[in-house]
């Protein structure tokens, strides 16, 4: 399905444009409300966050972020008074709630796990995807179409269905709750997307470039390294961001196969609780920090988004 970039000379009238613009902007604003609320809740104090009616104007507070990064214990009035002046903003906020900071929370280690697992699996998936896609694009591989279809069909399995045997297998191999296990699993899931997308990108690079290099005495591997890779770099970068977003956002495998040392941020954030229920400002703060990288990537990716989300079925 190739698309045509030329567009209608039958230009829409000025009025039609105006109405369309107003409706689209209205939709965009409504769709942003939940996101705005996540950011806002993260900067509210707990009483402000659960006030009725919901507060749009409020005094910003760092309490959500403080609670996100620390664990606290409640202390007696006498003990609190016996302590000296608070040194940091977070200590001050905590003391006002009659509590003392007991130590750091698990958010930072979980976030680092997310980074290691997402980047590790992305590197592996893109590396394997690039060489496999090159082979499928340039050589006659026996059963190529069947193999490609098989690679794609692995994405149709519900993650929970995949998790049953993986859980048993990892238990036997000692890979449960390890970063290596998660990297291998995410690589296997992402490699299908990676091969499909990169095959599309590499198909578009004219073969003549490599053939010229081969005639100049390059070996096949040199031609791949020095001619094809630089040409495919945009496609590789776009593919990498897609793999990264999947691994970053993934929840089902993470919650079933990790519990502690290798747990990523998505299963951790919903477990942030304060005294008497969810600590919504802390959840808002944790969610905000978790979402920011993705916002940046979405803006970077916008030109390749269509291709990525359709497994390369639609190209622009």
């Amino acid at each position: 399905m190739s698309t045509n970039s030329a567009h209608s000379i039958v230009e829409p009238s000025a009025n039609a444009k105006r109405i369309a613009g107003v409706l689209v902007v209205a939709y965009a604003i409504i769709t942003m409300i939940p996101l705005f609320w996540i950011f806002a809740t993260g900067t509210k104090s707990p009483p402000d966050s659960i006030s009725y009616p919901p507060k749009i104007l409020y005094e910003p507070s760092a309490e959500g972020y403080c609670n996100l990064f620390t664990t606290r214990t409640r202390q007696t009035q006498e003990y609190i008074e016996s302590l000296g002046e608070p040194e940091t903003l977070c200590e001050d906020i905590t003391l006002r709630r009659n509590m003392v900071i007991a130590g750091p929370s698990n958010y930072v280690p979980r976030f680092i796990n997310s980074l290691i697992i997402a980047f590790g699996s992305t590197f592996c998936a893109v590396f394997l995807g690039t060489i496999t896609a090159y082979a499928f694009s340039r050589f006659k591989v026996p059963f190529a179409n069947d193999l490609l279809f098989f690679i794609l069909s692995t994405r149709m399995m519900p993650p929970i269905a995949v998790a049953i045997p993986i859980y048993l297998m990892y238990r036997e191999l000692g890979l449960s709750d390890t970063k290596l296990g998660m990297i291998l699993l995410y690589t296997a899931v992402n490699v299908s997307l990676s091969v499909w997308l990169l095959k599309g990108f590499i198909d578009e690079i004219p073969r003549e470039y490599e053939e010229a290099a081969l005639i100049d005495g390059y070996t096949r591997l040199q031609a791949f390294w020095k001619v094809v890779l630089p040409q495919a770099s945009t496609g590789i970068a776009a593919t990498a961001i897609f793999c990264l977003i999947f691994a970053w956002n993934e929840y089902a495998f993470a919650v079933l196969l990790t519990s502690g040392t290798a747990q990523t941020a998505p299963p951790f954030i919903p477990t942030i609780i304060g005294e008497g229920g969810m600590d919504w400002p802390a959840v808002g703060a944790g969610t905000t920090i978790f979402l920011v990288p993705i916002l940046v990537f979405t803006v970077l990716l916008r030109k390749h988004l269509l291709r990525g989300i359709t497994f390369g079925a639609v190209r622009k």
Partner: protein, 322 residues
């Protein structure tokens, strides 16, 4: 021991090198195309065999047993097709399939209608349309789990923003309805969040469809004096149809597998009213630990997605060829 093996290998390599003519030797050093092809394809195949195919075969094998993962030492009995029989006659499973169907069908209907309408509007090319398109796309890139978790807060009856806005707009009391606790509303609460997240996905694909329609067709219609309504029904819609169908295929597969957003938003409740297939599967496999039984269910789900997707792709190809 290892030394002698190395020696033998070295010696045979030497002999091979001496026996090979010059040109071929260079090709081996540079690797033949065939060797490169295998070298490049095999790591991926090995990974997929280890992490996809082997577990799939294991699942099939387990589905014929009464194995329970929490009792690894218990005797494993071969129960034949009994797991499959029990699943297909289990009322709870059918209820969860109905819940899944409700979720999949309504999300597809809403996302297709709103997504196509948005694409149509964006295609009017008003000023700043590129910027606003990017803004609209943001929700679909976010983690369904993390965002689904936060929607639980938006849906709170007293303090939630969603209830407040709906109450404000309709004039009802925001605490008079519970999106997550009410039997009638809970199935819609997950449809709303999914529609919020994934409408941009359908929009993006529909937009590509609209932009693929060449101008001359519209110009010809202009010459034939076809009205705007006629143009929409006989040009725009049929020509964008393959793209719309593709979007429906991808959304259908994804939502059939839906787990993360729903488990965090409703946890399958109230009761088991929003328990979609993946949640039932998780309950059976990782809470009741009926591994054999849930393996059979996993296979049935996989066959269902695979079968439906294949039938659908055939229909899609027929539309494309028209």
């Amino acid at each position: 021991m290892t030394n002698s093996v190395d020696n033998i290998l070295d010696r045979s390599a030497d002999r091979a090198a001496r026996a090979t003519p010059d040109g071929v030797a260079r090709r081996i050093r540079g690797l033949s195309d065939r060797a490169v092809a295998w070298l490049f394809v095999s790591p991926t195949i090995i990974l997929l065999l280890a992490i996809n195919i082997f577990p799939l075969i294991w699942t099939i094998q387990l589905s014929f047993t009464n194995y329970r993962a929490n009792r690894p030492n218990a005797e494993i009995k071969d129960v034949g097709l009994r797991n499959y029989e029990r699943i297909l006659t289990d009322e709870d499973i059918w209820l969860s399939m109905q819940t899944t169907a409700h979720f999949v069908i309504w999300t597809i209907v809403l996302q297709t209608v709103i997504g196509f309408a948005l694409a149509y509007l964006v295609d009017r090319k008003f000023r700043g349309h590129a910027f606003w398109t990017t803004v609209i796309l943001i929700p679909m890139m976010l983690s369904p789990a993390v965002v689904g978790n936060f929607w639980r807060f938006l849906y709170q009856p007293q303090i939630g923003l969603f209830n407040y806005i709906i109450g404000y707009v309709t004039g009802t009391d925001p605490s008079s309805f519970q999106m997550l606790g009410d039997v009638d509303l809970a199935p819609w609460s997950i449809v709303i969040v999914d529609t919020w997240m994934w409408t941009p996905y359908v929009m993006l694909i529909c937009l590509a469809g609209l932009r693929s329609i060449p101008d001359y067709i519209y110009e010809a219609a202009e010459v034939d004096r076809a009205g705007p309504f006629r143009r929409f029904w006989s040009i725009t819609l049929p020509m964008a149809l393959p793209f719309i169908m593709l979007a429906v295929l991808f959304r259908g597969i994804e939502n059939f597998k839906m787990f993360d957003m729903v488990i965090l938003l409703t946890g399958g409740g109230p009761g088991s009213l929003t328990e979609v297939a993946s949640i039932t599967l998780k309950r059976e496999a990782f809470e009741a630990w009926r591994t054999g039984y849930s393996s059979a269910f996993a296979i049935i789900l996989f066959v269902a997605v695979f079968g439906l997707a294949n039938i659908y792709v055939k229909a899609l190809n027929r539309v494309k060829e028209r």
